[in-house]
Every structure is written in C-alpha cells, then in structure tokens.
Amino acid sequence: MKLRRPPGIAAWLIERNSPLAGDLLEEFQRGKSRGWFWRQALFAVAAACGRNIRVSRLYLKSYFIGFAAQAVVVFILSRFHLWVFGVWADSLLLLATVVLKHKIAGGIGADLSRILAECSEIDSRKRTAISRLVALWAFTLYLSVYSHGVMYAFWFSHDVLSVVFRRIESGRRSA
C-alpha cells in the first residue's frame, strides 16, 4: 500500500508530540484531507500554547496586583507625609518589587521557551537564535527592574535632602 504524504510544515509543527502526530497521520492515511490535517495541526499548537499562556496569565496577574498595592501604599504615605515611615516602606517595597519582577521575568521566560519548544522540534541552530532572543527580552525586563531601583534611589535622596533643607530652614528661622 502506498502511503500519502501529509503537508510538510503542518507535520513539522506537531512532530514533538509523537503519539498525536501518529494519530493524525493514521487518520490522514484513512482518507482525511490535507485541509483537515492543517486544521488539526494548528489546533494542536494552539492547545499547547493556550496551556502555557494560562500559566503566564497568573504571573502577569500577580505583577499587576503587586504594582497596584504598591501604588496605593505610596499614595497613602505621601498623603499623610509619613516620610520617616515612607523611607523604610519604600526600601521594603523596592526589595519586594525586585523579588516579584525577578520571579515574574523568570517565569514568563520559562513559559516562552516552553511555548516555542511545544510548537515544534527545534534544531540546535534555531534553538541558539531563539535563546538569544529570549535572553535579550529577559535583559530588557531586568533593566526595567533596575531603572525602577534608580527611581527609588532618587525618591529616597529627595526625601532625605528635603528633610535636611527643612531643618536648615527651621534652624535659620529660630536663629
């Protein structure tokens, strides 16, 4: 019996999941169309990606919750001029933000690599190019973490300087 050849790219997309690829090929040999094979392959890739995106969505949610909570705390502190407490709280929030973002960047990076790996059997040359892209992407995220750190350092120094100036001012007035 002569076996039919399935669409090459569609077969490549699902190559990683061997039992699924076998099932699709079995059905294709029994007379299913090339269009059917394509649809099934795209559904399979979408299902694999959807699963990873669900995990990433959780990380993103925690990212936004963390930032919303931080914004509320900073607003309350600035509203009541609790500068002494504010400095400490800012330092703690900075630490929490760095920890959160590292965790999130790592998590999303891992998910992205998993999505890419799920999509196909990636050969070593492509894997190197993709890992470079992921590294660049993670670097930009880490950069945002440290730029945030610089912003906090600026706020911190601004708080300290304003206190020093206020004291100098009040010293002058009393003199």
Partner: protein, 122 residues
C-alpha cells in the same frame, strides 16, 4: 499569604472537578476499555455527542487528567501507517472512576426534581 500569588495554575486544576469535555473523555475511555487511544477516543465522542473534536484538544484534556491522577497512559508498538510512531493508550485510574461516579451522583441529584424543560424557557 503572599506565596499564594505564585500558586501554579496546574495546582489550581487539582480540585477534583473536571470540565464537560474532560468528563466526555473519561466516559469515552470507559466505553473503549483497553483500546483507548487518540483516534478512537475522538471517534467515540463524535459518534455519541455528534460534535467534531480536534485531536490536539483531546490530548490537552488527557494530559490534564493524567496530571490530576485520573488517567494513566502507556505507549504501544509503532506502526508503518503511523509513520513509525507508537500509539499512546489511556486508562481510567481508580481515583478517576471514583470521581466519575461522584459526578454522576451529583448530576442525577441536580436533575432530580427539576421541572420538564421546554423550548424557549430559560
């Protein structure tokens, strides 16, 4: 409490509940017995429920069920028709069977005493 934020969504699925599609797959596995792999599972659902299913979504649901410990899988022998690829046979575990019975009991309980549903009435 802050650690709760990072609970993996995979942990969140281990609640003993399953979706309508997962239940269909579990029932198809029970119908098919030892011969349950991707192709007959999708055919069984198509035949009994009258809707076409994508094999990718069948495997995605089976993977979730396997993570929950409700099904197990083993690889069969490779065949030429499948391009030398092995079949992955699935079987419902004792835990899976208990959960299906529990769902059946709960659904019967919910249906019991419900007035006849008529077209156009919500």
């Amino acid at each position: 409490m802050c650690c709760d934020i990072f609970i993996d969504s995979e942990d969140m699925t281990r609640k003993g509940y399953f979706s309508e599609f997962e239940l269909m797959i579990l029932l198809a596995l029970l119908y098919l017995g030892e011969e349950a792999y991707g192709v007959p599972i999708s055919h069984e659902i198509e035949k009994r429920c009258g809707r076409e299913v994508a094999l990718g979504s069948v495997y995605a649901a089976l993977d979730r069920l396997e993570e929950k410990g409700l099904v197990t899988s083993r690889l069969g022998d490779p065949t030429a028709e499948r391009g030398g690829r092995a079949k992955r046979y699935f079987r419902v575990t004792d835990q899976g069977l208990r959960d299906v019975r529990e769902t059946q009991r709960a659904l019967i309980e919910l249906w019991r005493g419900l007035p006849q549903l008529k077209e156009g009435l919500a």
